[in-house]
C-alpha cells in the first residue's frame, strides 16, 4: 500500500528534525568548520522552535497501516525529547567550540540523529519500527561518548574511550538481548504489531521473551543490576553529552518498555516480580552508592539510578494513573537533571574537574549558579515547590493506590538518604570558602540560557504543576487501553 499524504501528518515533527539534519550537513559543507557554533546555535534553537510547533500542529493520526500512531502520548514524549536535545545542544555550544573546534557540526548531527530516533519512538506501534527507532537513537550515543577522544588539549576527559566502550558493549549486548526476546515474541504470536500481541499473550515463550526485553531495556535505562556502566560512562564522557545521556535515552528506554510490556504484553506475572525487585534494588543501591561519591557527576549518576527505580514503579500497576506519573516524572527529570548536569559543565569548564572540591565556595564566585544548582538539587531530592516534589509525590501516590505500601516506605526513606548526599553538594557550594586561586566563572551565553530554561521549568512547574499534570493525564489516557479496547483486539 502506498503511503498517502495523510500518513505524514503525525510525522510532521520528525520530518522537521530530518530536514534540520540535512540542512546542517549542507550548512557544514557550504560554510566550513569555522561556523560550527552558528550551526549549533541554529540547530538548538530550531529544536526549540519545533517544540513550540508541537503545540500548534495537529499531530494526531495513524500512518503506514497503523504501524505509526500520533496521539497525545507520542506528542508528550516528542516534546520532552525535543526539549532535551535543544537544551543539550545549547548548553554544549561553548564546550564543543572550545574543545573540538574542527569537528563541531558532527557533534550536533549526532545529537540530532539521536533526537530523531527518539521523536519517532513513542509513536511506533510495530516491533520492527520500534527497534529501528531505538537503534537510531542509540548508535549516535556511542560516538558522542567517545567524542573527546584522548587528544584533549588540557589533558582531561582521557577516560572518554573507556566510557564509550562501556556504553557500546552494554548497548550492543542489551540490543541483542532485546532482539532475541522480540524474536521469541514474534515467533509465538506471529505478528509484529504491538496492539495485536495482546491476543496471543498467554504462551510461556512470550512471557520469557518479555523478560528478555525487560532485561535488555534495563541495561539501557541503567536499572540495578544492570547499572554498572552508568557512573563510569558519565564520569568519562563530556558533560553536555552526559546531560543528554542521563535523561533522553533513559526516557526512550521507558517508552519502549511501555510499548512492549504495557501495551503489548500487559506485564505478565513473571515480569511483575522482576520489576518490583529491580525498582526496589535500584532505589536502595542507587541511593546508598551515591553517599560516598566525591565526584558530582558520579553522584548524580548514582542518584539517577535511584530515580530510575522510582520511575520503574509506574510499570508495576501499569494503569492510567501510574502512566500519568511516568510522564510527569519524565518531564521533571528532563528539566532537573539536564539543569544539574549543565551546572556541572559550567564548573568543569572553569575548574577542569567536577569533584566536590571544585564546587566549594560557589556562592561567592557565582551566586546565580549556586542558587540554580541548589534548586536542581532540591528538585532531585523532592522538596516542595519545585517540580521534583510533585514528581516524587505522584510516584508515591500511584504506588500507594496500587497497594505497594512497602515500596512507598522504602522510597520515603531513600528520599531522606538522597537528601543527605545532595546536601553534600549544597554544603560545598554554600558553607565552604572558595579556593584561594579560584577566579570568577567565565560567562558562557549558551550554557546560561539553557540553565535558565531548566531553572524556569523547575520553579514554574513546581509552583503550578496542574497544567503539566493535565497534559500527562491526557497523554496517559490515550496510551493505556481501557478494558473494552483490550477486548476489541
Amino acid at each position: 500500500m502506498m503511503p498517502s499524504a495523510a500518513d505524514f501528518q503525525p510525522l510532521a515533527i520528525d520530518f522537521g528534525v530530518l530536514a534540520l539534519i540535512l540542512s546542517l550537513i549542507l550548512g557544514d559543507l557550504l560554510l566550513g568548520a569555522k561556523s560550527g557554533k552558528i550551526l549549533g546555535l541554529s540547530a538548538g534553537l530550531s529544536l526549540l522552535v519545533l517544540l513550540a510547533a508541537t503545540f500548534n500542529l495537529n499531530l494526531n493520526g495513524s500512518a503506514f497501516s497503523g504501524a505509526y500512531v500520533g496521539d497525545a502520548w507520542s506528542t508528550f514524549f516528542k516534546r520532552l525529547f525535543l526539549l532535551s536535545g535543544g537544551l543539550a545542544i545549547l548548553g554544549g555550544l561553548d564546550h564543543v567550540s572550545r574543545h573540538y573546534p574542527h569537528r563541531q557540526t558532527e557533534f550536533y548531527l549526532m545529537v540530532l540523529s539521536s533526537v530523531l530516533g527518539m521523536t519517532l519512538l513513542p509513536g511506533a506501534r510495530d516491533l520492527i519500527l520500534l527497534v529501528v527507532c531505538f537503534e537510531l537513537m542509540g548508535v549516535p550515543l556511542f560516538v558522542l561518548a567517545a567524542y573527546a577522544k584522548t587528544d584533549d588539549s588540557q589533558g582531561r576527559l582521557r577516560h572518554a574511550p573507556e566510557a564509550a566502550l562501556k556504553l557500546y558493549l552494554v548497548g550492543v549486548a542489551s540490543t541483542a538481548l532485546m532482539l532475541f526476546g522480540l524474536s521469541w515474541i514474534y515467533g509465538m504470536s506471529g505478528t509484529t504489531s504491538i496492539d495485536r500481541l495482546m491476543a496471543a499473550a498467554n504462551s510461556p515463550m512470550i512471557t520469557a521473551g518479555g523478560v528478555l526485553v525487560l532485561a535488555g531495556l534495563a541495561f539501557k535505562i541503567g536499572a540495578v543490576p544492570f547499572h554498572f556502566w552508568v557512573a563510569d560512562t558519565y564520569e568519562g564522557s563530556n558533560t553536555p553529552f552526559v546531560a543528554f545521556l542521563a535523561v533522553a535515552p533513559k526516557l526512550a528506554g521507558f517508552v519502549a518498555l511501555a510499548a512492549v510490556l504495557q501495551r503489548g504484553l500487559n506485564a505478565s506475572d513473571l515480569q511483575r516480580p522482576m520489576l518490583i525487585a529491580m525498582a526496589a534494588a535500584s532505589i536502595v543501591i542507587g541511593n546508598v552508592l551515591a553517599i560516598t561519591q566525591t565526584n558530582v557527576k558520579r553522584l548524580l549518576a548514582f542518584s539517577g539510578v535511584g530515580h530510575i527505580g522510582l520511575i520503574l514503579l509506574a510499570f508495576i500497576p501499569g494503569d492510567a494513573p501510574s502512566m500519568t506519573m511516568l510522564l510527569f516524572y519524565g518531564a521533571a527529570y528532563v528539566v532537573t537533571n539536564i539543569g544539574a548536569f549543565l551546572v556541572v559543565e559550567a564548573i568543569e569548564d572553569a575548574e577542569g574537574d567536577c569533584s566536590l572540591q571544585a564546587f566549594e565556595g560557589l556562592i561567592h564566585r557565582s551566586p546565580a549558579l549556586a542558587f540554580a544548582m541548589l534548586v536542581f538539587l532540591l528538585s532531585l531530592a523532592g522538596i516542595p515547590f519545585v517540580i521534583g516534589f510533585w514528581a516524587k509525590l505522584y510516584v508515591f501516590l500511584a504506588a500507594w493506590q496500587a497497594g505497594l505500601t512497602w515500596l512507598v516506605a522504602l522510597g520515603a526513606v531513600a528520599a531522606v538518604v538522597g537528601l543527605f548526599y545532595y546536601m553534600q553538594v549544597a554544603r560545598a557550594m554554600f558553607m565552604k570558602p572558595a579556593r584561594a586561586e579560584a577566579a570568577a566563572l567565565p560567562h558562557r551565553l549558551g550554557l546560561t540560557f539553557a540553565i535558565a530554561i531548566c531553572l524556569a521549568g523547575v520553579i514554574v512547574l513546581g509552583v503550578f504543576p496542574a497544567p503539566l499534570l493535565d497534559q500527562a493525564e491526557r497523554a496517559a489516557a490515550s496510551f493505556v487501553l481501557g478494558p473494552r479496547q483490550i477486548a476489541a483486539f
Binding site: I291, T292, I363, L378, I383, P384, F385, W390, F396, L397, W400, Q401, T405, V408, A409, A412, V413, A415, V416, L419, F420, M423, Q424, A426, R427, F430, M431, P465, A466, L469, D470, E473
Partner: protein, 512 residues
Amino acid sequence: MNALPLLGIIVAAPAIAGVLLLLLPSRARLLVRFTALLGAAIALSGSVVVAVRYDRLLGGFQMEERYPLVPKLGIFLRLAVDGWGVSLLLLTGIIIFAGVLATWTLKTREKEFFIYLLLLVAGVLGVFVSQDLFVFFLFYEIAVLPMYLLIGIWGSSHAVTEAGPFRYVWKVLDIGGREYAAMKLTLMLLVGSAFILVAMFALYVAAGSTSFDLEHLASVKYDRSLQLWAFPALWLGFGSLAGVFPFHTWSPDGHASAPTAVSMLHAGVLMKLGAFGIMRVGMVLLPEGAREWAPLVGGIAVVNVVYGALSAMSQKDLKYIIAYSSVSHMGIVMLGAATLTPMGWNGAVYQMFAHGIMTGLFFALVGLVYERAHTRHIPSMGGFAKIMPGVAAFFTLACLSSLGLPGTAGFVAELLVFVGAYQSAHSWWALPAILGAFITAVYVLRAVKTIFWGPGPAEKFVDLSDAKKTEWGALWILGAALVVFGVWPDLVLSFIDRATPDYLSAVLGGSK
C-alpha cells in the same frame, strides 16, 4: 474590607520580602535589614489584625480563603484561622519581629541569611493557617529545610563528638560541628516527614482519594487498625520536630549551633509546629488512635519533662541549658495534649505560646551574651549584672517564667497542664511534671546566679557593654509579652479556649 485576603498577606509577606531581598545588592546593608524587618512587621501586624477581627463569640474557622492548587487531586490552598491559629500566628509574628531585631548586627552574608529566615517564617505561618493537610505538609517542609543552610553557614562551630558507625561517614566527608548539627537536624526531621507523608497518604486513600481538606478528612471514620498504626506514625513524625524523647537529640546540638535568630525561631516556633501537628492532625483526625496511644504519649512526655530538666542541670554550656530546657518544656506541651482534658489542651496550646516567647527571649539574651563575652561556658562567667544590667534583668525575667513563677506566662500554662494532668485518667502524671518544674528552678536559678550575680566580672569581661538599640527592641517586646500574657492570660487564652472544645469533642466523641 472583607475582600482583603488577610491570611494570604500574612503568609506571603515574608516570602515576598525574601524575594525582594534577592534583588537587592548585598552592599545595601541597611536596606536589606529594613526590608526583612518590613516583612516581619507585616506578618506581626497582620496577626494582630487577625486577632482583633476574629469573632470570639462565633468561634470556628474564620477569614477563609481558598485557591486551587492541584484541584485534580483535591488539593486546595485553603487558609483559615480558629482560636489556636490566632494565638500561634501571634506568637510567630512576635518572634520573627524580635528575631530580626536581635540579629540586626549580623555581619556575614546578611542578605542570604534574611532570605532563608523569611522563607522559613513563611512556612511556619503557612502551617498555622492552612486547612488542607497537603498544604499543611508543604508549608511544614518549607519551615524545616532552610534550617540546614541557616545553621550550616551561620552557626557556631564546635567539635563533633559522635562515635559509632557514623563517625566513619563524618570523617570521610570532613564534616565539622555546625555542619554536623545542621545535618543531624535536617535528616532527623526529614525522617519524621517521611512518616507523616506515609500516614497522610493512608488517610487520603482511606477517605476516598478525593480531597486533602482537613475538614473532609476529619469527617471520615477510619478503621481501627488504620488509626492504630497511623497515629503513632504521625506522632513520631511530628514528634521528631516537637522534640519527643528519644527523638529530641537533634535539638540540643541544633539549637546550640544555630545563630541567635534561628535558635529563637526554632525553639520558639518550629518545635511548636510539631506539637501542633500532633494535636491538630494526629489527634483530631484519628481520635481512636489518639485515645489508645494517649498513655504512651503522656508517659513519654513525662520522660521528656524530667529527662530534659536533668540534662539541662548537668550542662555547663549556656546554650545547651536553654536547649535542654526546651526539650523539657515541650514535654509539658505534649503532656497537656495527652491528658485529653480541656484544661490540659488549653494548657498545651498556651504553653506553646508562653514557651515560645520565653525561649525566644532566652536565646536572644544568650546570643547577646555570647556575642560580647565570646564564651558560653558558664563557670568562666560571673558578675555580668554589673556590666550589662539590662540583659541581666531580662534574663532573670525569662528564668522566672521558665520555672513557672506566678505573674509570668509560664505559670499560667504550667498550672493548666498540671491540673489537666491531675484530672486525666493518669493523675500520677502531675507528680513528675511538677518535679520537672522544680528541677527547672534549680538549673535556671543556678545559671542566673553564676552568670549575673556571682563574683566578678573577670578582668577580660569588664569592657563588655549592655544591649544596644535594636536589641533593646527585641528584649522589650519579648519581656513585655511574658509579663502581659502572664498577668492577663485571657488575652490569648480566650482564643485558645474557643477552639479547644470543638477539637476535644471530636477526639472524645466516640468514647462517650
